[in-house]
Subunit: 388 residues, 4 copies
């Protein structure tokens, strides 16, 4: 293992302003850390070798402030991006914090709120375009219900699709080079959130007018909350050509949204995840959407940020070692992993069907094969632990 | 509430042979109940006013038996269907019980197993067609992994799609009037099963060659295991036009696959579910895929079956009462439920965008609206409890 | 079902000031409702027929304010209690909101914080005594870790016990008529909280110096988060003589701490819970520790409070009806419920052991008994739905 | 990291006969592997350097067979123990597989079943004594309910305690050198199992007549199913002096009972667990209660067994390295870990209370301390990954 596990911009790591900027407020306690100025955050991230930053409109430009102030805040941000060499890799709209969104944004029962949410998004899409952000994320944190009586889900999905179709139309009309990435989450802060998993979002995208420009931004914590395998979800997303962005953090199953340091909980899951990202040709940023424990002061925030990067790079190196270990190749072959890439029957034809119907199978003999997966999986653990 | 909560065939309730036939075997214990003969099951179900029955190939025709015996078993089944007036409402392949499928069926690493699984399905599709079953279900219970090293998920999904495309081709080529319904499940018996939720299956269907003939068979227990809302999943499935069949039973979140009597656990969830099914125009069967507690003898099995039906009918009646209660209509109106059916902005146009950009919103005023959902939801509880 | 489902003081319902006072702040959004003055809360609760109120020190007396102001706030509270006839049924210390407790209170790694937490508790125990509160609750929401490296759990439990022993000593020394009730929670806001379930707290109590004055305050939401049965936990707590107080609300398994209106989610669980409380002779208050959905304005807050009470009373009436239904008695008898109250073997003696060793059992015959639980459980559902 | 990660008897690893003997039967599939003879299992385990084996009565002696056959089976087992040098480190009763226990064993509603269960346990306690097993485990897998109507939990707990008191009396009367270890589990195969967690069992033990001879056998999978921290549960068990035995395996939260290879899932949790066991002075066996994936043949079973041991030993070595790393000691000190071992206030006295009441705390200053836990926790991850 190389001693050097620090980032360079070509690694394409990014952080949200709200991550290193998180002040430790939670449902049972107030903020514990002072505000870090945006410019200081950017400089700190640049010092860590980070490539990009992302933002919500309200992170950057004071909500409800006069346009002149918002422009000044934006210009200051652009200036610091220039100074630090960081790129703006993603933008998104805050459609959850203000009480106006308490019943939803694109799916609020109040049509005025829905229109306001779309307008707020358009305004920030303009900002995203100005900043050159290639990805615009939609996390519909308030799009949901506590009581199923409060919305007809089919209406809600229709409104959700309507908003995305309208905004995609806007991007195309304006000629912006921006793609959309939906970020699923099963619950919290709502009882049930619409589009709860990467799967539901993939299904939903197939109904959209401009579906080619809409993909996903899966998040470790969100998928893990329900105990679903994040790795499997990302793999399906990649298979469907829809991995546009990714939110890396950590989480235990069946708990509140924890947003822990990447690599601090699900070590084995993340080994597979990093290996998949590295081997798949995924060219987007690796975006850390996490925050430091509430026990930490500002120094701890930077420890946290360094840890996210360090764990990703360590796992990437382990994945390379794993894939170049001849014992692994032999075990993979024994398990039949390469065989799964071969077609089973090929495309349908009457002749192919007839041929297959005539085949004789020695079922008991096929059943007696051992697949050697305990041995293969132990090689995974060995590489993770560094004892291979 | 009417005293009469018993089924008539026009209610379109159905049961799988393996449900009333369940003998109480579990991972820690052997069978506790004697085998019920298929003919006796059908007569018992017909006596309860049931409409249809469903089967796995191996429920009906002895696995590995000579064709003459299998034909005799099938003919006996057809005869009893005729006698009882029951229809065969769904068929499916057992691709999970025999050791040959221990590593998967359509996604086994062994190409011979994959071919055998497709052949086994074709043979039973022929049986389904002979029996007039309109729906063929695919539950890929063994399509998954314990270790992510053992399969490249993208290959696995490609093989899964290949198998379904081939089988859909077969159905079309044969001119069978059969549609496919995929049944998602997150885990058990595999560590992670591919297509873990209705969402993932909806996304997957959008990649299939004959996607118009492939929909879903969502199951209460499977979706509930991960704590996702079954109601919300069914609503999205309906919205996407993909509810082809449904498996009704009951389950607690975060536990093994319990397959409890419908209506015995998640009473409020099921009120919303039944209301949705009844109001949506869903015309398929209501299929109970559940079994009696292991404490029960044969008499308890029939108590169980009656209970499933009784709870569905009681909730359907409560849903009708709820929807005709003027206080409910008033509360819905206050909450703005009907407003969610109105377009927010309509289709995109440059003019519509410009107009929206110019709108002024009184955000604080919009934020002050109370949505009255506690009152509305309490009316739900009142109707469920019969105290409205 | 009687039309009258409203509270009277003799029902002994109570609410925390923070429940109707909850302003809808959550991790992703700010407060949505205005502050309700304490006196208005008390009057509103008295109007609903409530018996008691509970408070954290900081709910009542401004944190860090001069003693004169705190005394004035306390006196105003006492005056309104007198006016409304409400009693102060429980008090507790806020050891979680201020940043000083970010690493824990009784188990903070910082000894000064631990001493401060004990002092803060003593001061409020004095207030509790002045107000006549018979129960003092300890919810150790910050007593835990995100990383197991950060505390030796055995030290943490020793400090926890030390604090409780000291405070119990204080109560005894002062001659206060107060008992302690520990409130377990598995996680949130900490990654893992010490004493995560009623079980762990019961085990812990057995190590305390003054264990006779320490019992539990189980909460629906906290126990349900982990998917454990709240009913079973309360039953064990009663069996061990340790049910000193109870927090009623509602929650879905495997999610963030939802604190929903009592009876709005787990209807069947709550039927059993209310039946148990009503039949057990439990004489403490029924304390609602919940809050209105964030979609609600102040009117919705009172709808919420009425709903909690209504659901408890409705379930209590259903429990009475269930227990007086002769079909239920017959089904219970068939299932053998009364037989479980009979000793199996009695106390050990050499003779009893020898006799038992000589007994012959017809195991297959015993195994053939059906327990009729599907029928019995359906009677439960029938009574809940009001269709019995 | 030393290349040598194989067991020696002094490591005190043990396996159950049912673990390497597991044939891969599950709820949806039949056995996939041939039966391994008991003698072959013992020889295989001895070859791996294992110390002990454990058994259920029915693993060793055919259920219902004549006493002569059972004696011959037992004698054969003793002979092979002698040959291999393995010790019998634990015994337990199978009170779950036969249909007679479908409603419970010690808590069956049928008093005859309860008496039979106690007799069956006494007979096997005699065998355990003959074999020199120091620990007798009680896993009450069938002690529970699907419907809370079917048992009064308080009666069930009373019967449970009665059975354990009787059996403890028997052990004492016979002069056997055996201690009891209760094994908690939340659910599966029952809907809710009594004594669902280590906490509930610790609470229950405090009610027993011979509580000094009753402790726990916590199992990774059982505690993890509910998302509780196994590490924290074991730590409390140790703190209460009740860790008599431990079941090591692996599991994902919120799923069926998976019994995976130890160290194959929760790597970070197990680092802390192994460190705790190694540092605590725990002198019992490390018992693997797990089984090979169902994809495996007999060769895979031994790969599985080797992997369990290898992972334990690797984590133990990492724990030693962690504890001897001076950067870890510095980080621990910064976090204040050693400070938690210091008393906060000492035992109660009027003077101590008065002194504490007079203390002044600079709360804001105390609140400003950062605890450095991100840095400390990253050192944990570094040591696990071997990149420290």
């Amino acid at each position: 293992m190389s001693p050097e596990l620090t980032a360079r911009p070509e690694h394409k790591f990014s952080f949200g302003l709200w991550t290193v900027g998180n002040r430790g407020r939670d449902p049972f306690g107030e903020a514990v850390r002072p505000k870090i100025e945006v410019a200081d955050m950017l400089r700190g991230l640049a010092d860590l070798g980070v490539y990009g930053v992302s933002f919500h409109d309200d992170d950057l430009m004071t909500f409800g402030a006069p346009e002149s102030q918002r422009r000044a805040e934006l210009d200051a941000f652009k200036k610091t991006l220039d100074e630090t060499g960081l790129v703006c890799s993603m933008a998104t709209t805050n459609l959850f914090y203000h009480p106006v969104f308490k019943d939803g944004a694109f799916t609020s029962n109040d049509p005025q709120v829905r229109r306001y949410a779309i307008q707020k998004s358009m305004r920030n899409i303009d900002v995203a375009a100005e900043l050159g952000a290639p990805i615009y994320v939609f996390w519909g944190g308030r799009e949901g219900v506590e009581s199923a009586a409060a919305k007809d889900t089919r209406d809600a999905l229709a409104r959700y699709a309507e908003a995305l179709d309208f905004l995609a139309g806007y991007v195309k009309d304006k000629g912006y080079d921006i793609r959309f990435a939906l970020e699923p989450k099963p619950n919290e802060p709502r009882g049930d959130i619409f589009l709860p998993t990467v799967g539901h979002a993939l299904g939903f995208i197939s109904t959209l007018e401009h579906q080619e420009m809409v993909g996903l931004n899966p998040e470790v914590a969100h998928e893990t909350m329900s105990g679903l395998s994040f790795y499997q979800g990302v793999a399906q997303t990649l298979w469907q050509g829809k991995l546009f962005h990714i939110d890396l953090n950590d989480q235990r199953i069946g708990r509140f949204d924890q947003d822990f340091r990447f690599g601090s909980e699900g070590i084995k899951d993340h080994f597979f995840l990093v290996r998949l990202l590295e081997n798949s040709g995924y060219a987007g940023v690796k975006h850390f959407d996490a925050h430091a424990y509430r026990t930490e002061d500002v120094e701890g925030v930077w420890d946290f940020a360094r840890g996210c990067i360090r764990n990703y790079l360590a796992l990437a190196e382990k994945a390379r070692e794993f894939d170049s270990d001849p014992r692994v190749a032999a075990a993979m072959s024994y398990t039949g992993v390469p065989q799964l890439a071969e077609p089973s029957v090929g495309p349908y034809s009457t002749e192919a069907a007839a041929g297959l119907m005539d085949e004789q199978f020695d079922v008991d003999s096929l059943a007696s094969r051992g697949f050697g997966i305990e041995k293969l999986d132990q090689l995974v653990v060995d590489h993770i632990l560094g004892i291979a």
